[in-house]
Subunit: 328 residues, 2 copies
């Protein structure tokens, strides 16, 4: 029979994104009991977003028929540079935040210990604790969603660098003069293999007369395009979509090889919405390309794998962080 | 009056390269007293190279009018992956070495404590201890010579990754489909900004009819081309050479930005023969390009600088390592 958790044994993970907030309630052994989601509404400013985080946490607790008093701590992932000691978001471009004392604001309202981390670091931590065996010392997490971000575990600990910005792997230039990136540069990894870049490429090609089953599925403007639609189109034999996805997988493989050459991690784990939806179509190409481009000797015994956590990586990592920081 | 060193206070640093071996004798406060150099002759095999290292060390000691008994330890930098615990070179492509027990072989012959490290790590350590103030926690060393290598200090310690190959930044692809690299891939940083790549580019252009003062200086084949010749040609107003060097500096700046985005070090230090010879021509462009391509917030308070150690970075790092490992 499973042990009945102590009164304050539950953990909450929060993934604060540019468009949505996800909160999950977890047991001490990091099993998810229930979740809640609200839109972020970042345009309303930090105070409003803090209120929405609180509502999302309350919704998740309510969903699980629990009470706030049964929660031990909350780990929050924010999309930007985070001062983890103070729980302060230094800057988060997607939220247009600068210097937001998130820990303080949330602790005041929730009356619970709050711990804030960078979102990709939290995702990596979630994978590290729940999916990887044998406690690898150096792990790199690569998350392909709308954009691309990375998390680093070095010597068993999250690494964030001097300005807490380490892991900005989406803006590693891998094709000088290549596709334009939102950041203003050209040829960034994110501009070649991020979901927004792929969608833009497909929509542009369709405007230029490219035929694809996606327009049959979704109409000519492809406004509601999702990663899963790409998988469906490939399954229906769409060679154009297949090629776009294959190219993205090749670029991702080259990026993985670059990071293996630079950091030589023991495990590289890929996650995020794009990998989640297109694992079967992308992973084999990513691994093959990465091994092809990595220097001799760098890949001996290392593992390149996909995470199964999908959208839950962030909230899982949040729960792991909260558990570690409130260890009794 | 300076303290007179104890009998066994001297330290030796050895830089084992693909073409030459450099040994230097250092005081406990890491001042170089004298050096010796011999060719590596790697084709003769590991045993012959070990003998040549020993001869080089003996020459350096003799040069300083010292005796082997006055030496406390020897730090050796090898161009490859090194198991530092065992002092074993796992593999070193330039030497065609695999699994060479270098520490054991040298200790047997020299009767001194020997410590082996990766060469670029040692260079970074040398710069870290003798040129950087305030003990930065995270430092990246980038060394542009014939090829390009890197060294990483994370949390104040050398970092070498799972297979001891971290820092292979020369094979980070920054231009997919770009110039062919010796490693077999295309568009590696080293193939765009390493000395061998620049020389090849210049020699190719000259064969295709490009005019340059370099042929006046060195004859039409440009066989004995050196980094310093590029500086001289630029000083003499050679726009072609200037452009080649500027392009290399731009590629280097992009590589630096990539590494800042990924690792967010506090200090990035550039060294090696190419930087040594062309610091005035390259550094301003490297810094400007790096700041331009780095993500907002990543470069706040960080420093990008050139090392003054030049060819002595490796032996300096060797002495630093020997001092640290024999601390009394």
């Amino acid at each position: 029979m499973p042990e009945i958790p102590q009164k304050t044994e539950y953990l909450i993970g929060v993934d604060l994104g540019g468009t949505k907030i996800l909160a999950g309630v977890f047991t001490p052994d990091i099993k998810c009991l229930g979740k809640a989601k609200v839109s972020t509404k970042a345009v309303r400013g930090p105070d409003a977003v803090v209120e929405r985080i609180i509502r999302c946490v309350q919704d998740a607790i309510d969903e699980c028929d629990l009470d706030m008093k049964q929660v031990r701590g909350v780990g929050v992932g924010a999309p930007g540079a985070v001062n983890t000691d103070e729980g302060r978001v230094i800057f988060a471009p997607n939220l247009k935040w600068e210097n937001v004392a998130l820990k303080k604001a949330l602790e005041k309202e929730l009356g619970l210990p709050i711990f804030v981390e960078n979102d990709c670091n939290l995702c990596t931590l979630g994978v590290y604790e729940t999916e990887l065996e044998g406690r690898p010392r150096h792990v790199l997490g690569i998350f392909l969603g709308t954009g691309i971000g990375g998390g680093l575990i070095i010597d068993g600990k999250l690494y964030s660098g001097f300005n807490r910005t380490a892991g900005e792997i989406g803006h590693m230039v891998i094709e000088v003069g290549g596709a334009k990136c939102e950041c203003g540069n050209r040829g960034c990894f994110e501009a070649l293999a991020g979901r927004a870049a792929l969608f833009k490429k497909i929509q542009g090609a369709v405007r230029d007369g490219q035929k694809t089953v996606l327009t049959e599925m979704l109409g000519p403007s492809l406004e509601d395009l999702r990663s899963g639609d790409l998988r469906k189109a490939i399954k229906r034999g769409d060679k154009f979509v297949e090629k776009v996805v294959e190219e993205a997988a090749e670029y991702t493989g080259i990026a993985v090889a670059n990071l293996i050459n630079i950091l030589n991690p023991e495990v590289v784990v890929l996650g995020g919405g794009l990998i989640d939806a297109l694992e079967d179509e992308m992973m084999a190409i990513i691994v093959e390309t990465a091994l092809d481009y990595s220097m001799a000797g760098t890949t001996r015994g290392i593992e390149i794998r996909a995470s199964k956590l999908g959208d839950d990586a962030g909230i899982t990592g949040g729960a792991v962080l909260a558990r570690a920081m409130t260890k009794q």
